[in-house]
């Protein structure tokens, strides 16, 4: 997928910029993008290590089992192929909870770990050859989708932006945010379930 989209983005952008005289901006984009990636990665290393560490502790306690039990019915519906893998379910539960609490910094590292566990599981089943690209399993697809849906109890970023712009009531938008998120997430899940079914 990215092998096709990525070059297209670059080719179109450069052609368009040359044709319409935005070549100066393109030059700055080339340098800025690497800088942005470095800034993000450096800030990610710290939170990644911190939360991977905290997660390791959490996974060793009974707390996570309790959370898993609560989320179990939902997880079984969304991820039918990993019903029996407790470890992956733990990681997914932690990711969903972190997202829900608005701890994006915590959710991402945990989520990436969950993806790697699911990938290993996937490789085991299919006996995949090394150095070959694998397909995403259905659970991996669903997991990515849930993470793109931004299911959040308190959307802190937008509150602070609204506050900084002098809103009289920064938190006024919370109910429409909840409703829109739920609609978006449900339609995404429904759409993906349909697509997976059609593939079979």
């Amino acid at each position: 997928m990215l092998n096709k989209i990525w070059p297209l983005f670059i080719i179109f952008s450069i052609f368009y910029a040359v044709l319409f005289g935005n070549i100066q901006e393109i030059n700055s984009a080339i340098f800025d993008s690497t800088e942005n990636a470095i800034t993000i990665t450096i800030s990610l290393v710290g939170t990644m290590c911190l939360w991977s560490g905290i997660m390791k502790i959490a996974c060793s306690t009974s707390l996570i089992n309790k959370l898993c039990r609560i989320l179990n019915p939902i997880l079984n519906f969304l991820f039918p192929d990993i019903k029996n893998s407790k470890k992956i379910k733990k990681e997914i539960s932690m990711n969903i909870i972190s997202n829900f609490l608005g701890l994006g910094n915590a959710a991402t590292p945990i989520g990436i770990k969950a993806m790697q566990s699911m990938n290993n599981e996937n490789n085991k089943i299919k006996n995949a050859e090394k150095n070959k690209y694998n397909k995403l399993s259905n659970s991996m697809k669903m997991f990515i989708l849930i993470n793109t849906a931004s299911i959040q109890l308190i959307p802190t970023t937008i509150f602070s932006i609204r506050k900084s712009l002098g809103s009289k009531n920064p938190t006024q938008i919370i109910v429409p945010v909840w409703l829109a998120t739920i609609c978006a997430a449900l339609s995404g899940i429904f759409c993906l379930k349909l697509l997976i079914k059609r593939e079979k």
């Binding site: 901006e25 290393v45 290590c49 990436i112 993806m115 790697q116 959040q152 829109a180």
Partner: protein, 173 residues
Amino acid sequence: MISYISLMAMPLVILIIIIFAVKEKKDTFDLFIDGAKEGIEITIKIFPTLIGIFFSIGLLRNSGIMDMVIKIINPITRIINFPTEIIPLALIRPISGSGAIGIATDIMKNNGVDSYIGKVASVIMGSTETTIYTIAVYTAGLKVKINKDVLIAALFADAVGIICSVIFCRIMS
């Protein structure tokens, strides 16, 4: 009140986890170090992907293609009564998180934070996620092919989220 709750969220989560671990007599610090080591490995694995994605998105944003796309779809959105001011935000939201924050802030400044348009922009920011970035980060370092299904479903969810933001803001204001 709400800002207090969100301030409390992170410390509270950490506190609960640590208290549980201590109560169950785990080697907390050893566990922590083990986990932190894994954190470094994962970050190094996803770095090349980030460079690649940021590079192509940066080009796309700065080339001016977005402005052209906005001009093209402008008449269509006018027919369905979708606020024009929101279109740039709707287009950039799935691709670039910092770009979307910039545009949303701009929209709120120009139209008023508490205006209808300002609210729509806020709700979109709160209810959607930087889809392409999320997909890239979660598949980075895995040697998997990104499947069309995920992209279609995620972008469909974004579209629903954006349309719902407009509808709910209209109903509730």
